[in-house]
């Protein structure tokens, strides 16, 4: 049975690519090595973490914010097993959804480890060890990424965990030590803090959320510290002693000499990043080139150096974000049928689903300064937004960066309760090359949080009304 396209991996990049290809008339099949479709995102990443974040957020609100609203409830008790089932329901629902979409689009699924066996050939080895070889015209590698390991630390997913284990801890740790103050570390750290853990975050660099706008990062750290998280910046963990009842982590300064200290914890979460995953694909034999970080090298059309083999998502360069992988999946499917598939990397939003949320799209102030671009800034705090005040969720601000000459919006940064949703407006505006004035002159409903975006846009021209 010959296919037009086989996609190896069914995370957001892979399954979206397959569906788009099917829509465009390609006979498509997918290969998935785990039991369920959906990849890291649906099974051990985006979806389960969001479910836990939502549940733990409400748990915290019930315990801390209800009283002042006149809602009298006794201190909420945590039934972790049920909360984890709530999370599992989210996973199951989404995975079933992908199942359904594959059937709807007549995409055949093969469960097993995929390997490129030759030009146009993909060998699938099932759990029972049996192999079958599929023939195809094109192959898209969408095998995603895996947890980055730290030297000297072994992850057992029981006490020393990655995000995978952190999503299924059987009980709330008394002390959770998080290594890495990136998105995953802060999100999962927030979950367990709300559920009662003491959380300490060790970060190699001198600030949280490396890569994001500096002002946002500093504000975020302040807010998380107020919530009770402890940060040890410019530090590294060189080892974790698992011999005793509690874990003992050795923490040293990141650079130079200095005393090492020991931090005791019940669970250590290793969240120092992710690396591309290409194990068992047979790329070396197939002649597919990787870069020095193990990422598959592709050109602007997502084509590898081997004709007929393409790659998208976390396995190639670029931000490791599900929506970036999805857009690349669509682009490559369109390219395969001769259309002009394209991804605009300048307008890819990034969201941190803590509370408050943090979201940004476009350039940070640091990036603009480094590129010598003259820009104006418009900032508007949620303390001045009517809706935020009504809900008493006034942490954070909206910041818009616009070109000093043309007023074109170059970057938008939001820290606030609904930042993840609010950033969509900014992405649309930037996709259409809007100026800050255009956003300011678009009517925004009152009373909503996006009015803060409008006011920040007015602030670029130094004429905010509500500040």
């Amino acid at each position: 049975m010959a296919y037009d396209l086989i996609v190896i991996g069914t995370g957001p990049g892979g399954y979206v690519c397959a569906i788009r290809a099917a829509q465009l008339g390609l006979k498509t099949a997918v290969v998935e090595k785990s039991d369920s479709y959906g990849g890291t995102c649906l099974n051990i990443g985006c979806i389960p973490s969001k479910a836990l974040l939502h549940a733990s957020e409400l748990f915290e609100e019930a315990g801390h914010s209800f009283a002042k609203m006149g809602i009298g409830v006794p201190a909420p008790t945590l039934d972790l097993k049920t909360m984890l089932q709530f999370k599992q329901d989210a996973i199951d629902g989404n995975v079933k959804g992908v199942d359904f979409l594959f059937k709807k689009n007549k995409i055949e699924g093969f469960k097993g480890a995929g390997r490129i066996a030759g030009p146009g050939k993909v060998e699938v080895k099932g759990a029972d060890g049996k192999t079958q070889t599929l023939e195809t015209k094109s192959i898209v590698i969408a095998t995603g990424s895996d947890v980055a390991r730290l030297k000297g630390i072994t992850i057992d997913e029981k006490r020393v965990v990655s995000s995978t284990g952190a999503l299924t801890l059987p009980e709330v740790p008394k002390h959770l030590l998080v290594i890495g103050a990136g998105v995953i570390g802060l999100e999962l750290g927030s979950v367990w803090r709300r559920l009662g853990a003491k959380v300490t975050v060790v970060e190699f660099l001198d600030g949280v959320l490396p890569g994001m706008d500096g002002e946002v990062r500093r504000q975020a750290q302040r807010l998380f510290e107020k919530q009770g998280m402890t940060f040890k910046l410019s530090s590294k963990v060189t080892g974790v002693d698992t011999s005793g009842k509690t874990l003992k982590a050795t923490v040293e300064p990141a650079k130079g000499e200095g005393k090492a200290e020991t931090i005791e914890a019940d669970v250590v979460l290793v969240s120092t990043g992710r690396v591309p995953f290409t194990d068992g694909l047979g790329l070396k034999e197939a002649g597919v080139k990787l870069d020095e970080r193990g990422r598959v090298i592709v050109d602007h059309y997502y084509a590898t150096n081997v004709p007929g083999i393409w790659a998208i998502g976390d396995v190639i360069a670029g931000p490791m974000l599900a929506h970036k992988a999805e857009d690349e999946g669509v682009a490559v499917a369109e390219i395969l049928v001769g259309q002009a598939g394209h991804v605009n990397y300048d307008v890819i939003p990034a969201v941190v689903y803590t509370m408050p949320e943090i979201a940004s799209v476009g350039k940070s102030e640091e990036e603009l300064k480094a590129a010598n671009v003259a820009y104006n800034t418009g900032k508007f705090p949620f303390t001045a937004n009517g809706r935020a005040k009504a809900n008493q969720q006034t942490d954070g601000f909206v910041k818009i960066l616009a070109d000093a000459k043309t007023d074109r919006v170059l970057g938008v940064h939001i820290i606030g309760s609904d930042a993840g949703n609010m950033i969509a407006e900014a992405a649309i505006a930037m996709e259409f090359g809007a100026s800050a004035e255009d956003i300011a002159r678009t009517c925004h409903a009152h009373p909503t949080l996006p009015e803060a975006v409008k006011e920040a846009a007015l602030a670029v021209a130094k004429r905010a009304i509500h500040m």
Binding site: G120, S138, H300, I335, G338, A340, S435
Partner: protein, 424 residues
Amino acid sequence: MTDIRVPTLGESVTEATVGKWFKQPGDAVAVDEPLVELETDKVTLEVPAPAAGVLGEIAAKNGETVGVGAILGSIKDGAGAAVKAGTATGAPQGRPDVKQATTAPINAAEEEPAPRKPEPAKPAAPSAMPAPPSVRKLAAESGVDPASVQGSGVRGQVSKGDMMAAIERAASAPTPVSAPVQMRAPSAPDDASREERVKMTRLRQTIARRLKDAQNTAALLTTYNEVDMSAVMHMRSQYKDLFEKRHGVKLGFMSFFTRACIQALKEVPEVNAEIDGTDIVFKNYYHIGVAVGTDRGLVVPVVRDADNLSLAGIEKAISALGKKARDGQLKIEDMQGGTFTISNGGVYGSLMSMPIINAPQSGILGMHKIQERPVVVGGKIEIRPMMYLALTYDHRVVDGQGAVTFLVRVKENLEDPARIVLDL
């Protein structure tokens, strides 16, 4: 669906007023059939249908101002209509070899995937997307039409930056588009009731603006001389019938004046030149503008390469242009490219006057009424048909000696037409 767009209107003409629509929505139209009239500063022209079909909705109504390239309406392609609405999406085609990849076996010889060239910002067709709010505000305040601005957006949309740049360009252009300032003190009530306020026609506004521009730019001086027209008049009376019979056009004075001026322009080339910034552009061609009064105002059609035309050729050309002018059929091209202008105030009875230069030219000859006057010839008083000649010139490029010499040479050529024949 085929869009009907405002065509190129001519050098420096960026907008027009929509006049009469000859067809209504729902009417069948043939390809090239005139659909609507557009009035510009210089001419009125008709927009032909780009395709056959049925006229759809009219986007620009009578009286509206439209810029070059703006959409006037659309035609639903009818039977036989060939052109599909060409919307340049600006998106490149996928690599051609990709199609082969999906139809041939993988191990067929295939080149290394070529790196994609960064797409240059393709100037997309003017977008049907509404302009952003900032652009609309700037358009209303500046008078610059966004439809006339090249949009830099990938969808062809005009951004705030594009608009700001266009406004800057318009402001630095010599003739800025600005609303006239009406600052007249109010008349006494008794007088005010006896006043009638009439808006200046577009043509008159343009004439007014260009006159002031010419005055404000050039250093205008006028030098005078007089010419004894008896030789020319004698020639005319002797040959006019034969001339008209042979050439089908009357033998007038303009052909003589044109040839005389060309002789003088060849000798004093600065009068045929033009200032451009810090350069003087000398033109080695002679396109003579002949001012014609019409009921709509003064227009100056141009006789191109008049130095290559015989007297008959010049008369024919002027006659044809004059008819076109009176019929309102002059095209933009008929009035462009002139190097020197001749204006005849004499037809209205003027004895002596100072014409204004037709910018960006550097000289204009004013002809006047031929009047019999006593003059001294060879020590005796004679009655001769005399005409005063005026040359208004741009002193930045033409000096006094040149101007006077020019006029003297014109006089000599008219008083002794043999010089024209002998190219003196």
